[in-house]
């Protein structure tokens, strides 16, 4: 795929690597703090039957906080001043993440098959710009093949929605 959506924007626009790296380190540290709080609630000392449930994760949390503090310091001191990614590239990434989030979020309601048909169709039509015939072929073909391989041959049930119920599958 040769997408060159960032050509006009120029190669210098986008978040700095340093900033993202520092952000990731901070998120790591927050995660560590959550782990410490959770362990504290579960009890981090010794009980009647030995170390209590929070004993081990408490130290894990400490390790996370300490190592991400060091990572943060490294990122700010001598981090990479270059670009993390261009805005155009990030837009590409988001053009996958957002539809996938909708796809995944709709699955409990409309089932995997219908969601997959719409998702593949959207992806091929709007991002790939294929002819409708190709789009329909792949978007319908893949879930049907999946149905026969998973449900019929290997007996692995997949989530179904109202349409499958109506079809009596």
């Amino acid at each position: 795929m040769t997408t060159d959506s960032s050509g006009a924007a120029g190669p210098t626009h986008g978040p700095r690597h340093k900033v993202v790296e520092a952000g990731v380190a901070v998120l790591f540290a927050l995660f560590g703090v959550v782990v410490i709080i959770g362990s504290w609630k579960a009890g981090i000392n010794w009980g009647a039957e030995g170390p209590r449930a929070g004993f081990f994760p408490f130290y894990i949390g400490l390790f996370i906080v300490v190592s991400s503090a060091i990572n943060l310091w490294h990122a700010l001191r001598d981090g990479d001043d270059g670009l993390f990614a261009e805005w155009g590239q990030l837009r590409q990434v988001m053009s996958v993440v957002i539809p996938t989030a909708i796809y995944v979020g709709s699955m409990p309601f409309i089932g995997l098959y219908v969601a997959s048909i719409i998702f593949i169709g959207y992806f091929m039509r709007w991002l790939g710009k294929y002819r409708w015939l190709t789009v329909l072929g792949v978007a319908l073909g893949m879930p049907i093949v999946t149905y026969f391989i998973f449900e019929r041959y290997f007996l692995v049930p997949l989530p179904k929605g109202p349409i499958e119920e109506w079809l009596g599958l």
């Binding site: 060159d4 993202v20 609630k41 579960a42 209590r52 994760p57 190592s67 294929y130 007996l155």
Partner: protein, 502 residues
């Protein structure tokens, strides 16, 4: 001698028609997985794992391990023909493989790559056949302290040997341990770190993490780079294969060295990727053609491929004999064992002889079949890469979703998978290693259990980990691995001052 009898029995198991069919299917799927961007050994096996729930465990592990061999072979195809490493461990193969393809020697490069892969794997399998039963019988005497020491060694080697900054490795690894701790505590039966969310009762399944981190994360990275596939045609005929084979034996020294590097890096959980780079680097320094490396030198294909395949295979040795996987893919296979109701570790060699030796025999056969299949079908596999990414990407995403769902039949897991995917993208971009994270999720509970049981025995004193020669040795090895980069620096500095003084 008993091992030989067991191995022959294993061949009888592996050569059953159903198992041969499963083997071929696994190899073909594996090569496809290895060729496609976004699907790799670890998440490919994770996605297909649910398909094996209804199979007998021996056939299931044969199929899954063959997917792994196939993926190892497949990575070479894309590196050589398209200059796109399908797998991280085939990055080093592009250095000389792609220039060879540009000079019209794609056939030679592919033959050399596949053959070296086979040699590397064969070496590692022979090593497993000889060493694994010994390690297992030795490990039968391990108590909780020794078990923890082995985990300690495994995780320390990650910190010391990986090319990522050590504190990033530690942060990623500890995140894995924390995720493993979520849910029911196996010793006290108490809930922890769930913060009242009922979805978190069972904790985080590492299969979901593998599919998200490696599968979705990889797709996002590929999307960002905006891939364009421009590749040479692949033509292999018998004449080219024979010509190349005639030339290969003169690189036996490179092969042997790469085999040993690969086995070593595979057993210590450094994995196939650093093994391939290290082997390439050393071959470049030692070889008399070293200055031609990077311009299409066949030796530059032999070295990394042999090491990567040897490491990938050797990673199963600690998985089988100790229950400590040497790579993310081995970790997924270990997860499979647990699902089929088998307890990985030394007892496997005593209680599940047929399973273990069937698997080992299938490694010999699987790699042989793999070599034949890839040599004959390269053009077909290369054609897969010409399918545009905007068709492949949604199909892979749907496959990932199906894989994530079918682990526990839970749509919440599918959402988690996407979350892990975004995390995987960010971590990969910020140079955090993903393998220790996954391995920590897999081994977290076991490591914690061993740690707490040892402390119970010693009334909370850490001295238990240095209480006898065996456990102290393993712990000291672990500490050496942990501070390996610092130790190396001191050694080079000492050498520097000595030469300066002289």
């Amino acid at each position: 001698m008993e091992e030989l009898v067991n191995l022959f029995h294993g061949f009888a198991v592996a050569l059953q028609p159903f198992n041969i069919m499963v083997m071929v299917l696994g190899i073909v799927l594996g090569v496809i997985i290895g060729v496609l961007p976004g699907l790799g050994g670890a998440n490919g096996v994770a996605i297909l794992l649910p398909l094996t729930f209804s199979m007998p465990p021996t056939s299931a592990i044969i199929m899954l391990s063959c997917i792994y061999w196939g993926a190892l072979f497949g990575g070479a195809i894309t590196s050589i023909l398209f200059n796109i490493p399908g797998e991280p461990w085939s990055v080093a193969t592009t250095f000389d493989g792609y220039p060879m393809a540009q000079q019209g020697k794609a056939g030679e490069a592919l033959t050399a790559a596949f053959t070296s892969s086979f040699v590397g794997a064969l070496f590692a399998v022979i090593m497993i056949t000889l060493v694994a039963p010994l390690v297992a019988s030795f490990a039968l005497q391990f108590g909780p302290a020794e078990k923890f020491a082995v985990y300690f060694l495994a995780f320390c080697s990650f910190v010391g040997l990986s090319k990522e900054p050590p504190f990033k490795t530690i942060a990623a690894m500890m995140m894995g341990f924390a995720l493993a701790a979520v849910g029911l505590d196996s010793i006290t039966g108490q809930l922890r770190l769930t913060f009242g969310f009922t979805e978190l009762l069972n904790g985080f399944d590492f299969l979901i993490a593998v599919i998200g981190l490696f599968g979705i994360g990889e797709i996002l990275l590929t999307m960002e780079e905006g891939l364009s596939f421009r590749g040479g045609k692949a033509k292999i005929n018998l004449r080219v294969v024979m010509e190349t084979w005639k030339g290969l034996p003169k690189y036996w020294m490179t092969s042997l060295r790469s085999c040993i590097i690969g086995c070593w890096m595979g057993i210590t959980p450094a994995g196939a990727t650093p093994a391939s780079f290290m082997s390439y680097g050393i071959a470049k320094r030692v070889s008399k053609n070293g200055k031609n490396f990077g311009k299409g030198e066949i030796e530059g294909v032999v070295a990394p491929e042999t090491a990567a395949h040897a490491a990938g295979t050797a990673a199963l040795l600690p998985m089988l004999s100790l229950g400590v996987p040497g790579s993310p893919t081995a970790a997924v296979l270990l997860g499979g064992l647990l699902i089929w109701g088998l307890q990985p570790g030394p007892m496997l060699f005593v209680e599940q002889k047929e399973f273990v030796w069937g698997l080992i025999a299938s490694m010999y056969l699987g790699n042989l079949f793999g070599l034949i299949i890839v040599l004959t079908c390269v053009p077909i596999f290369a054609a897969i890469l010409r399918v545009p990414f905007s068709i492949i990407a949604p199909l892979i995403l749907v496959l990932c979703a199906i894989g994530a769902y079918s682990v526990h039949s839970s749509t919440f897991d599918v959402m988690l998978m996407l979350g892990f995917g975004v995390i995987g993208y960010l971590l990969k971009k910020c140079n955090y290693p993903l393998a220790p994270l996954v391995l920590a999720i897999v081994l977290g509970d076991k490591a914690e259990e061993a740690f707490r049981q040892s402390l119970l025995g010693s009334q909370g004193s850490l001295g238990i980990f240095f209480s006898n020669p065996l456990v102290s040795t393993i712990m000291v090895l672990g500490l050496i691995a942990l501070f390996w980069s610092a130790i190396q620096e001191v050694i080079t500095r000492l050498r520097g001052t000595r030469t300066a003084a002289a």
